[in-house]
Assembly symmetry: C2
Homo-oligomer: 377 residues x 2
């Protein structure tokens, strides 16, 4: 029944108005790559923006003509007849500023020096991303999104949309997210960052000029990340204590299946992801904290929000636990906002937000049908 949006291709938007980042750094000009699925309606009221998480990008659904196996990361969620129904909505995926999939980022050429930005690329924040996405919406003639949605760091961007541009988003879907990271979350990010920062091939962020890549650091960062994306249970079910060769080797090579899996994931990631992008993405996660400017009072932070919210968490997500999602829900309720909440029972930990799950998808589908009724009204 559910089908794919089919062949897609990336588009590119250029921006010449300088973007002043929260840090004070200025990007004099930049580009964003994005994809769209479905058709923007006449009054431009059916647009849905999908924000990506740490390692995501703008390729959210469909596949490429020259590489049919490269399917978008949320293809199970988005397409004709799928929970985010492209027969109804005009869906936009955008690669974040600072990314490594086509938008201006640390590996891009700095027009002021003629060399890759590297260490000179600013530490961008969730607020900066939302500001840059709003400019893309301007270019596309979209004044108000029917919905902005995302999981994990993408869910934080969706939330920030309601705070930065209250009148430009009608619905926010924030999935497997949190109002801010805990000390433990920051600690895991810091270990991952240190793996990269102390890799001799990192060269202070200017490794491009040395013709090397801090593979060791990226690999460790990804291995560690993967552990925290999965649940203890799913790792036990999937790998347990199985040995690759069936017996102990008494050495430091790969022995347990879980080691093989993690190293494979680490190697794959280190082969395509940019180390500086990894750093700035984790920093954006650490910094996101809308309550900070309101004496840590999340209720006051959310007073500006006007959108209706769907908040979703997953039972085994220990990185962004259901408790953290309920904190968002409570802050919205204290502001008498329109909020729906679902805690999905899933074995797959934080990664659940990326996976096909009937109950989860039904919740998103039902919620967006309501959003669609508003568009169609």
């Amino acid at each position: 029944m559910s089908t794919s949006v089919g062949i897609v291709s990336a588009q590119r938007a250029s921006f010449d108005t300088p973007l002043v980042c929260k840090s004070g750094a200025v990007l004099s000009r930049y580009e964003l790559v994005y994809e769209t699925y479905g058709t923007l309606n006449a009054d431009r009221s059916n647009a849905v923006l999908v924000c990506h998480a740490l390692s995501g990008n703008h390729h959210v659904a469909g596949y490429y003509a020259d590489n049919p196996k490269n399917v978008g990361w949320w293809d199970t969620m988005i397409g004709p007849g799928k929970p985010v129904d492209t027969n109804k909505f005009f869906v936009i995926g955008v690669n974040n500023l600072g990314g490594c999939h086509g938008s201006t980022g640390p590996a891009s050429i700095n027009p002021e020096t003629g060399k890759p930005y590297g260490s000179q690329f600013p530490v961008v924040t969730v607020e900066d991303w939302v500001a840059s996405q709003a400019r893309l919406a301007d270019q596309l003639g979209i004044r108000q999104f029917a919905a902005v949605m995302g999981g994990s760091l993408g869910g934080m961007q969706a939330m920030q949309w309601a705070l930065s541009f209250p009148d430009r988003v009608r619905h926010v879907l924030t999935i497997a997210a949190a109002p801010r990271l805990t000390a433990e979350n920051i600690a895991f990010n810091d270990v991952a960052r240190n793996a990269i920062l102390t890799d001799p091939d990192f060269h202070g962020g200017d490794f491009y000029e040395h013709g090397v890549v801090p593979v060791r650091g990226l690999r460790l960062a990804r291995m560690l990340g993967h552990i925290t994306y999965l649940s203890d249970d799913v790792m036990a079910d999937k790998f347990g204590r199985s040995l690759r060769s069936g017996k102990l080797g008494y050495g430091y090579g790969v022995e347990f299946e879980i080691e093989s899996y993690l190293r494979y994931q680490g190697d794959k990631f280190a082969g395509y992801f940019d180390a500086n992008t990894y750093l700035l993405m984790t920093k954006a996660l650490d910094y996101f904290d809308p309550a900070r400017d309101f004496d840590d009072d999340l209720d006051r932070a959310f007073a500006a929000a006007r959108a209706a919210f769907l908040v979703i968490s997953f039972s085994t997500d220990w990185r962004f636990s259901p408790e953290r999602s309920r904190a968002i829900v409570n802050a919205l309720l204290h502001n008498r906002r329109d909020v729906s909440y679902a805690e999905i029972t899933s074995a797959h930990g934080h990664d659940s937000f990326l996976l096909q799950h009937e109950h989860y998808h039904d919740v998103v589908r039902a919620y967006l049908e309501r959003a669609w009724n508003e568009v169609a009204a």
Copy 2:
């Protein structure tokens, strides 16, 4: 009321009978350093062996004459009038084979080559440690221990004593341990090992000859370890999202207090701990699995045990959760063994076993008073 055992000094025992490790590797001769507190009674029935965990050593209680600040790692637990009362018991702390605090280990000179063992030091197991500890007991004239005790990896050694030498231990105290690691536990260890193995200064384990130390890898391993030893709650309480300078720096230096803490711990550890010891300690953790030889049936594995057990877990220990301790308890009960179990409510995660905690210490005290009554009877 509770006092210290006072000034202590390490002793050294030499062994010339080759030790055949579980891997098949043979150590032709080796030394163990150890400390003792209290007095061995006439019939040598009051000895308590304390086994250490990953980063521990033989300096369990008291302090050194030339360094009074170097207090034993379990000094709160062991001493005159303390839960392990040295007015009653003769307590032995021993540095594990493969350690880096005086016992023969990877940094020791290999008599066959005249150079440090380095990569040639065998991967030792919990069974090998227990075998080497039994030889130390032989030298000290101790046929049977009143108790063998330890936390974490030390708790695994205590358990193994009941399996390897059922008639040589009357009581086993296994604290914050597990019958075997989960896939998630192994995964964390593998990331830590990879940090060391891929450090260019590791030189395949033979860094001693190069005059360098894989500081970066050890540092990362320790930072990661620390996260898993603490609870999410205690990190939130202790560090929260506090910033060192009070404001965001938009760079990759230390910003949050938790980062400062972790990096400090990492630096300190990398300054004294041996990278090869870290590797083999984590491998011994991964390998420990008494049920493996019994078709994963822990009940059958424990059929050999004769000792009485005290099993203790801590409510917020997510590395070795109470559930894992209950698996030990159940296997013992299925074998109709004498077993006591306490789940201690503590905010401090896995590290709880090292900390002073009234309820925890009272449980150990009460249990050992019973063991003492047997000795005195």
